[in-house]
Structure formats: structure tokens, C-alpha cells
């Protein structure tokens, strides 16, 4: 009940955040503008539109997750809205979970809206939208949940700006971790290989959630793959939230 109350409040508070609307505006503009770029390709305008729309959902979703997420806990400490809440018989981790749940709900709404708008637009222009398109959107959402978990962890530890930079770097690096899987073959040194392999499994691998190209080209993706990818994200996010709770537990506010 307490977690839910905090979540509900977080949701309402973030819905009022102006940054959210600016980003949404640009996202929607990108979605509706995708036709223009599609126009100059040879008969691939629908494919290009799907590419751009899904990329917009991902990019703006990440920006929202980072900007709102990194300020989330920090703003409460700064503005001391936190004091009266923590002075209740509420455990600190309940507070963290509530914040996370609220932001996740917000992102879910945003992702659904943007995906829906994109799908309707594409349908209106004569394209078809198949299952893989929505699977891609679902995995984008799961990716956003993981990014948010990072953001909340950083929010409990450091200032918003530093936190935002760190999470954004993690996002970029996390999309390229596959290199670590490919490189070991080029190494003769066993320890070197082991280190790279270790890094590959430890660093977050965001490319697991990326089926955008399949979605744009109408290539089917198995339900099993989607489920495994979601499981990966869930485990990692749970770990991060646990870490955030521990970090927050002993923090002097």
C-alpha cells in the first residue's frame, strides 16, 4: 500500500514535469516527419518510417528515463519533500521501489502512446504493422525499465547532472558490448580473453533488446527470444534496485 502510494504520487508528479512534454513533442514530430525521409528512398518509405518511428520511441524514451529518473530521488532530498515521508513507518527500500514503479508506469504510458501513434500513422499511409513491430516496442520498454533502474541507482548516489551523464554513457556502451564477445577470438592471451568475457557478461547488454531492424523489415522474432530478453532485463533491474535500496538505506538526508 505504501509503495503504491509513493508510486502513484511519483507518477502524478512526473506527468507534470515540463521536460516530459518537450521531449514528447519532439518524439511525435519525428514520428510524423518520418514520412518525409521515407519519401526519397525507392519504395521503402514504410520501412524507413518504421525504422525512424521505433528509433524515436527508443531515443526519447531513454531521454525521459534518464532526465526524469536521475532527478527523481535527488530532487526529493534536495527539496526535503522526503523528510515527512521517511519519518513515517516506511522502509527506505519501499520508497525506492515506489519511485521506480511510478516512473515505470509513466514510461509505459509514454511508450504505448508513441507506439500507438506510430502504428496508426503507418497504417493510415497504407503500410502494414505486424506482431514484430509491437514486440520491438515491448522490448524497447523493457530496455527503458533497465535504464531507469540505473538512473534511480545513480540518483540515490550522486547529483542529477553527473548521474545523467553516467547513465547515458552506460546506455551507449551497453549497446556495443557485443564487441567484447567478438574480440576474444583475436587474442592469444588466455587471461585477456577471460577478462573480456567477464566484462561482456557483467556490463549491461542493451543490444539484447534491439529488434528494431527485424521490426522494420518484417522479419519474425520468436516469442521465446522476447521472453528471454525480458528475463535478462528483469534480473539486472532487480539487482540494481536492490543496490539502490542498500545505498539509500544508510544515507544521511
Amino acid at each position: 500500500m505504501r509503495v503504491f502510494a509513493v508510486a502513484q504520487n511519483t507518477f502524478r508528479e512526473s506527468v507534470r514535469d515540463k521536460v516530459l512534454y518537450v521531449l514528447l513533442f519532439f518524439a511525435v514530430a519525428t514520428i510524423f516527419g518520418s514520412k518525409a525521409i521515407g519519401w526519397i528512398s525507392i519504395g521503402q518509405d514504410i520501412k524507413v518510417m518504421k525504422d525512424i518511428c521505433l528509433a524515436a520511441v527508443l531515443l526519447f524514451g531513454v531521454l525521459i528515463a534518464i532526465f526524469v529518473g536521475t532527478t527523481l530521488v535527488h530532487k526529493e532530498i534536495d527539496k526535503r519533500t522526503l523528510y515527512t515521508i521517511l519519518a513515517r513507518p516506511m522502509r527506505r527500500y519501499e520508497f525506492i521501489l515506489g519511485k521506480y514503479a511510478g516512473l515505470s508506469a509513466l514510461l509505459g504510458l509514454v511508450t504505448a502512446l508513441m507506439t500507438g501513434a506510430a502504428a496508426l500513422y503507418i497504417l493510415a499511409l497504407g503500410g502494414s504493422v505486424d506482431l514484430v513491430f509491437f514486440q520491438a516496442a515491448l522490448l524497447i520498454y523493457w530496455e527503458l525499465l533497465l535504464v531507469t533502474a540505473f538512473a534511480i541507482l545513480l540518483s540515490s548516489l550522486t547529483s542529477p547532472i553527473l548521474g545523467a551523464m553516467i547513465v547515458f554513457s552506460i546506455f551507449v556502451i551497453g549497446n556495443g558490448t557485443r564487441i567484447l564477445a567478438d574480440l576474444p577470438q583475436q587474442f592469444d592471451d588466455i587471461t585477456g580473453r577471460r577478462v573480456l568475457e567477464l566484462l561482456y557478461y557483467v556490463l549491461p547488454n542493451f543490444s539484447n533488446f534491439n529488434i528494431l531492424r527485424e521490426a522494420a523489415n518484417g522479419v519474425a522474432v520468436s516469442g521465446a527470444y522476447v521472453a528471454w530478453a525480458m528475463l535478462y532485463g528483469t534480473i539486472y533491474a532487480a539487482f540494481l534496485l536492490a543496490a539502490a535500496s542498500v545505498a539509500f538505506e544508510r544515507k544521511d538526508v
Partner: protein, 308 residues
């Protein structure tokens, strides 16, 4: 059962590994149920630190504290506490009604209970008129009222208030004083900090004075001040010169005014003696004024005592 007990409660910070002087040094305090305790100190003396430690917003570097027998580090301890921080902040986009509703949910109250709480608190603090205005638009005084109302959600038996009167106009102060006294009548315990001595003087049973992180003085207000009766001013009428001369020996000063002759003696007993003698000689007692040290004087003394 004691409402609050602290034992050697301390908090110090370090900068780059080196310890700074303690913000709170070995606080030993016991607050009984149904008391109004005033916690005094200058800015930076450690009042807010103590309160935050009690509410588990800070972790102590040494010592312990318990609220109604529960260790303050456990969430159980906070079940019975209503906390009003200094400069309370609430979510800007909510209305007071939504705010109280939110805290009601945190307390685990269901919807009807929350509505009842709102009705009770809105009446108590005059929030009815502004119930749909967003907190963003509130003045300091309005926020303070809302803060106190929030602290009372769930009707907790112990109230911990950090500078509750700060920023209030005289009407607001009066309202708060009345509410605190009413709460005392309802058998609640109130622990509040302040640096406004007149507020404390008017409502507290006991006070504690914090100087540079240390509790210098603690005890019942009247007893503390009683000890330091500086002077007694006795105003008598109909004192002729002979009487005056005979009484002068016992006094530290004599003065004449329209009201009569003012005799200044150093204790209540001496004053009583003076009056008896004078009345036997036919003088009339106009006023008998023990000039007690005000809390302010007392406060200043303790600051000096605490300084090196």
C-alpha cells in the same frame, strides 16, 4: 513508559577523513508521556540534528535512541510519531486535500478513514478555504499549517516539531500554541525545538538547552527560573523616613516614585520579612514583584557557560 529516551546519542561528520567537531555530543534525554518539552538552542546548536536522528533521517555515529521503547532505527519507532520538519516541503502540484490523502495512504488508512482525517484536520487548521489550491501557490504560513496537519495524520501520540512557529504571524503563533495545549490535554506528548523563547515560555513543561552540540541544562521550566530569582521588588505606601532608614539595611536599593517607595531585596524570604515589618509599622503593600530571570537571561547565561 518514556516517550523518548536517548543514551549518549552522538553525531559527527568527517571531511576528507578528518573528524569535524561533533554536531551532537552524547545527548542523554528522557521525555515522559504527556509532556510538552521545549528544545532550545541557537542556530547550529544541534537541535535539528537531534530531531533528524530521532526520525532516522540520519544515522548516529554513537549512542542510541528509543521511541516508546522501540529503537529509532526500526520503522516501528516511527509508527507513533508525527514529524514536522523545519520549512516543510510538499509536492508542489498537489492540493492540501490530496497531500493529506497521500499521507493517509502512507499510514495505511482506508478511504473513509482518510476522509475523516481530512475533515478533522481541515477544521483544526482552517484548511477548508484553500483545500483545492495547489501547494505551489502557498505562503510560508500556509505551508506551516499544512505541515502541522500532515504531522497529525493518523493521530500519533508523539509529535516531534522542528521550529514549528517559524515564519508565522502572531495569529498563526497563537493558533499553534492553542493546538499544542489542546494536544497536551488529549494526553499527547510534544517535543519541539525553537529559538523563540517567548513561545517556549508560554507552553512548555520542561526545557532543554543545547549549546554547541551539548545539553547544558535540562529541567522543569518554573524550577529552573525559580532558582534564579534575582530580585524582589516591594512597593510600599505610607513609609515614613524612620521606617525607610530601618529597612534600608536589608535592601540592595531603594527608590521613590508616585506609586510609593520601592524596596529591592535579593530573595523572596527577605521580601516577606520586609513586608511583615513594614505592615506592622502601618505601611500598605502595593506590589510584591519577584523579578525572575527571564528565560532569555537564563539562555544567555547558559550560552556563556557553554563557551570556552
Amino acid at each position: 513508559m518514556q516517550a523518548i529516551v536517548t543514551r549518549e546519542l552522538s553525531k559527527s561528520y568527517t571531511r576528507l577523513g578528518r573528524p569535524l567537531p561533533a554536531s551532537l555530543d552524547k545527548l542523554n534525554l528522557a521525555i515522559s508521556e504527556n509532556e510538552v518539552f521545549g528544545f532550545l538552542g541557537r542556530n547550529g546548536a544541534g537541535k535539528t540534528t537531534s530531531i533528524k536522528l530521532l526520525c532516522n533521517l540520519l544515522r548516529p555515529t554513537a549512542g542510541q535512541a528509543a521511541i516508546f521503547g522501540n529503537d529509532t532505527r526500526l520503522p516501528e519507532a516511527r509508527r507513533h510519531v508525527g514529524y514536522l520538519p523545519e520549512n516543510p516541503y510538499f509536492y508542489e502540484y498537489l492540493t492540501p486535500r490530496e497531500t493529506v490523502d497521500f499521507y493517509g495512504k502512507l499510514e495505511g488508512l482506508n478511504a473513509p478513514a482518510r476522509k475523516k482525517e481530512w475533515d478533522r484536520l481541515a477544521e483544526m487548521f482552517n484548511l477548508g478555504g484553500i483545500q483545492n489550491q495547489r501547494v505551489r501557490t502557498f505562503s510560508k504560513g500556509m505551508r506551516q499549517r499544512l505541515g502541522f496537519a500532515v504531522a497529525l495524520v493518523g493521530d500519533p501520540p508523539l509529535l516531534i516539531l522542528d521550529e514549528p512557529m517559524s515564519g508565522l504571524d502572531p495569529l498563526g503563533r497563537r493558533l499553534f500554541r492553542e493546538i499544542i495545549l489542546k494536544l497536551r490535554d488529549e494526553k499527547k506528548t510534544i517535543f519541539f525545538s525553537s529559538h523563540v523563547l517567548s513561545d517556549v515560555e508560554q507552553i512548555c513543561d520542561r526545557v532543554g538547552i543545547l549549546v554547541k552540540g551539548r545539553l547544558m541544562v535540562e529541567g522543569r521550566l518554573d524550577k529552573l527560573l525559580e532558582r534564579r530569582v534575582q530580585l524582589v521588588e516591594v512597593i510600599l505606601r505610607g513609609v515614613d523616613k524612620t521606617l525607610e532608614d530601618s529597612l534600608i539595611g536589608q535592601c540592595s536599593a531603594v527608590r521613590r516614585s508616585e506609586a510609593g517607595t520601592h524596596f529591592f531585596v535579593t530573595s523572596l524570604d527577605a521580601g516577606n520579612e520586609l513586608v511583615r515589618t513594614a505592615m506592622q509599622c502601618g505601611a500598605t503593600l502595593v506590589e510584591f514583584n519577584p523579578v525572575r530571570e527571564t528565560l532569555e537571561d537564563y539562555f544567555m547565561h547558559s550560552q556563556e557557560a557553554g563557551s570556552p
